[in-house]
């Protein structure tokens, strides 16, 4: 895998240089195995995203009771009043 740093950034995962190197080696081995898929001719084959085909599943537009803000915020790592709080958004 060429761009471990780029992928790690996309995935919001901080990797130390050593971790990045180990990751690259392991992923290369796994991708090497996965490369066997190239042997398989899939021209004209429809992709499957659901094993059991179903269509048109809906719910009716009926409001249901919400949970209380207290219940919804109970797991928050940081909060201010009834809001979740996050650190500064713009990078330093």
């Amino acid at each position: 895998m060429q761009d471990v740093e780029h992928v790690a950034r996309l995935a919001r995962l901080e990797l130390s240089p050593e971790e990045g190197e180990r990751m690259r080696e392991q992923l290369d081995r796994i991708l090497g195995y996965i490369d066997k898929l190239r042997q398989l001719d899939t021209a004209g084959v429809e992709p499957t995203s659901h094993a059991v085909p179903m269509v048109n599943v809906f719910r009716d537009d009926e409001p249901r009771p919400c949970l209380s803000p207290e219940e919804m915020l109970a797991n928050a790592p940081d909060r201010s009043g009834e809001f979740f709080r996050v650190p500064r958004i713009i990078e330093d």
Binding site: A11, E14, L40, T42, P47, T48, S49, V52, L67, P77
Partner: protein
């Protein structure tokens, strides 16, 4: 490391299957409270050795049991598992009880809602003993990837119980629960079922609601039972199966009375034996046990024929693109904002995200997030993700063709017997352990593993039945007939 800590906590109640327990409740020979206490005592004595549970919900269990006592006493049980002490994999959300998914990032997460499966179990009177250990976010085949501790195989404490539902499998295998719930994305019920000598059933995709199941790979995940015998699997599946309006992929298909199906003979049943499931490098003891099992089925009146599932060899590769791709998406929400842990100091938001996720996830989860992110990223999407989705179609077609000729496919559950803790350091070697279970998830089919013998080292071996969509009844019937005709069921691990 063999054996327990010298304590003798063997008890007829904890040795009973769920259906035997229920018979005792019915006759008044035992009460749910007595059974629950017996299990809790055994957990206290043995779980420090086996390490099946992350959380034991003692008080809740005792309260639920005493309510069940009352129902049995007044002759109004809620159903066929009322009062049965049950363990639940820590991947299912339980209102007010922390749900960790075996991850540091969710170490203190307490859901404000119950998974549909939990609601159904409780509505049927099941007594929930606690939440069981698992590979982090269900990614693994040994339960060594739990962020907290590894679970041991009750048959040999130096070996893994399989994974990712290793805690649930070990709990049932070690008589630390009468029955358990697991989840299976690539074999995570069946493989630990095989490794612990328990019955592990992965239902058809859509048979059991996924609402409240913390997602690993949404198009592959299914919830199912791990039990002491096939009859128990039938009972538990009946309770948890069925349409759920909260899960759009849950099928609106009637749920048969599986237990009633079990007694039907299997004479005339057409069994297919796929040649791709007997590969070079597999343990000869496993192959021998499975071949003998097929002969037993034939003696019971089934016909066996060889068949081919030619895409089998590619299924694992496709799976290791699809499952990580979906996982990378499902796990994006763990970012330190709404729930879960957050790093103490970060200079800005992106820094907080990246550090929180770096510290909160273990190595295997990170590997799969990276792999999945890569497979979906610009420039690679077609070659990896899209290609894998097409291969998935071919895998499905293989099974469709096979099921036009046979009623059920029989194969080994795993190529090997349980391995030692730490034996599979190489991720790819670990992945290869799931080679026989993964195609079933890709095709969305039901699969069941049942004990079919032991290796010379007394390690259990699993026999896998694979069925048509929504035909769990045939799997259960065939597996039950096999179980009844063989002596394997009687052996128990010597833990004390």
């Amino acid at each position: 490391m063999r054996g327990g800590a010298g304590l003798s906590v063997s008890n007829p109640l904890t040795e009973s299957t769920a259906h035997e327990l229920v018979e005792k409740f019915r006759s008044g020979a035992a009460t749910p409270s007595a059974a629950t206490r017996a299990y809790l005592d055994r957990i206290t004595a043995l779980d420090p050795t086996v390490r099946a549970y992350i959380t034991v919900t003692r008080e809740r269990a005792l309260a639920a049991a005493s309510a069940a006592d009352e129902r049995w006493r007044t002759g109004r049980p809620k159903g066929p598992i009322d009062g049965v002490p049950t363990a639940v994999k820590d991947v299912l959300c339980t209102k007010g009880v922390r749900t960790t998914c075996g991850s540091k990032i969710l170490e203190r997460f307490v859901p404000p809602y119950d998974a549909t499966v939990i609601e159904r179990l409780e509505a049927a009177g099941a007594v929930i003993l606690g939440k069981t250990n698992m590979d982090e976010f269900a990614m693994g085949s040994s339960t060594e990837h739990s962020a907290f501790f590894a679970t041991r195989n009750p048959w040999d404490l130096s070996r893994v119980p399989g994974g990712s539902s290793g805690g649930s499998a070990a709990a049932v295998g070690a008589d630390l629960a009468a029955a358990a719930i697991g989840s299976d994305t690539g074999g995570s019920i069946r493989q630990p079922g095989a490794f612990t000598g328990t019955v592990g059933l992965k239902p058809t995709y859509g048979r059991v609601s996924r609402y409240g199941l913390v997602a690993f790979a949404s198009s592959l995940d299914q919830v199912g039972p791990l039990t002491k015998d096939v009859a128990d699997a039938a009972l538990v599946l009946r309770v948890i199966a069925g349409h759920d309006p909260l899960d759009s992929t849950s099928a609106d298909v009637p749920v048969p009375d599986y237990a009633a199906e079990l007694s039907r003979p299997i004479a005339g049943l057409r069994i297919g034996v796929p040649k791709e499931y007997f590969v070079e490098g597999m343990d000869p003891e496993v192959e021998r046990a499975v071949r003998e099992a097929i002969e037993v089925l034939q003696r019971l009146g089934a016909t066996a024929e060889p068949l081919s599932l030619p895409t089998t060899d590619f299924a694992l590769a496709a799976y290791y693109l699809i499952a990580p791709a979906e996982a990378s998406s499902n796990l994006a929400r763990y970012d330190g904002v709404k729930y879960g842990s957050r790093v103490a100091s970060a200079k800005d938001l992106i820094d907080m995200y990246s550090k929180t996720r770096a510290q909160g996830f273990g190595a295997e989860v990170k590997r799969r997030i990276m792999l999945g992110t890569y497979a979906l990223s610009a420039g690679y999407h077609e070659a990896y993700y899209a290609k894998a989705q097409k291969v998935r179609t071919l895998v499905r077609r293989d099974f469709e063709a096979a099921f036009s000729r046979v009623d059920v496919i029989v194969a080994p559950t795993t190529p090997n017997v349980p391995f030692k803790l730490g034996e599979k350091e190489d991720p790819l070697a670990m992945y290869l352990n799931d080679i026989f279970t993964i195609p079933v998830n890709l095709a969305g089919l039901p699969g069941l593993s049942v004990r079919c013998g032991f290796s010379l080292a007394s390690l259990p071996i699993g026999l896998q039945f694979i069925g048509r969509p929504f035909d769990e009844a045939t799997l259960l019937r065939a597996a039950s007939a096999y179980e009844q005709a063989t002596p394997w069921r009687d052996r128990r691990p010597s833990l004390g």
